[in-house]
């Protein structure tokens, strides 16, 4: 008798789940949420510091190493958090296969687009090209 026939659905599903990646997304969502707390506070402080300033002053502040590093960390961390979160919303509400795959793909495109565009802008401000 084959081993597969002896396994119950529960046994197959246990540990890895329907996406075959187990609790990876759950855990990464926690990691990015913990990292998001200090980074969000830092973002609010930076945003307030830049209110009403001229373009030259904004470029100088956003391009300074410490601010640029915090902004890069914020963007990368939050985009990953967004990616997992939107995926969770999509699989909760979109049940039609093609639509679901299109939405999951769109989620990935949006997140990579935001991350790379924002990171490029921060690096350009820092290196002043």
């Amino acid at each position: 008798m084959k081993d597969a026939q002896m396994r119950t659905p529960m046994r197959r599903v246990r540990g890895m789940g329907a996406a075959h990646t187990g609790t990876k997304d759950f855990w990464h969502q926690r990691v990015t949420s913990v990292a998001g707390i200090p980074l969000t506070i830092a973002l609010i402080v930076i945003a307030i510091a830049l209110l009403g300033r001229s373009h030259a002053a904004a470029v100088q502040i956003l391009g300074s190493p410490i601010v640029a590093i915090i902004m890069l960390l914020f963007i990368v961390n939050i985009v990953y958090h967004m990616w997992i979160g939107m995926q969770e919303i999509i699989v909760d509400y979109v049940h039609e296969d093609k639509l679901k795959l299109a939405a999951l793909m769109g989620n990935t495109f949006f997140c990579f687009g935001i991350a790379f565009a924002s990171a490029f802008a921060i690096l350009k401000l820092s290196f002043g090209v």
Binding site: S33, T40, I48, L51, H55, L62, M82, G85, S118, A121
Partner: protein, 142 residues
């Protein structure tokens, strides 16, 4: 026993039980705050376009930055930024609530209610504090 017997009868005419959905539950603060957490997360997802626009405008030059500042200074822009501020703070506080729950603390009835209340009261208060500091930093409302 009557239900058991009825359940055993087969036939397409018998309505199957449906899983309960939103409208069947009594509204409660914890229920609404759970919804707010997902909704704020969903809206913040698109709200990050404002942050990306800000950075790209700064990197593009004075004209692009002036356009961004003009939009954010308009009534629509200010309302969007106010909503983004509240959403960001509310989702952060809601997230902290979830992290507390992940340690299996704060799950008793009274604790749940207190955490739900703290999330909404805290997010509104902190948003006001941030905006007052913001206007003070700019030297008063413009």
């Amino acid at each position: 026993m009557a239900e058991l017997e009825a359940g055993a009868t087969k036939g397409p005419q018998r309505p199957r039980p449906l899983s309960p959905h939103l409208q069947i539950y009594k509204m409660s603060l914890t229920f609404v705050m759970s919804g707010f957490h997902r909704v704020t997360g969903f809206v913040l997802y698109f709200g990050i376009l404002l942050l990306a626009w800000w950075l790209i405008a700064a990197a593009s030059g004075p004209n692009a930055y002036a356009n961004f500042e003009w939009f954010m200074g308009s009534l629509i822009g200010r309302l969007m930024l106010l909503g983004y501020t509240w959403g960001l703070i509310h989702h952060s506080l809601g997230g902290i609530r979830h992290l507390i729950w992940d340690t299996s603390r704060g799950l008793e009835h009274a604790e749940r209610e207190l955490l739900a209340l703290a999330t909404i009261v805290g997010s509104i208060s902190l948003t006001l504090v941030v905006w007052v500091i913001g206007y003070l930093a700019m030297g008063g409302p413009r």
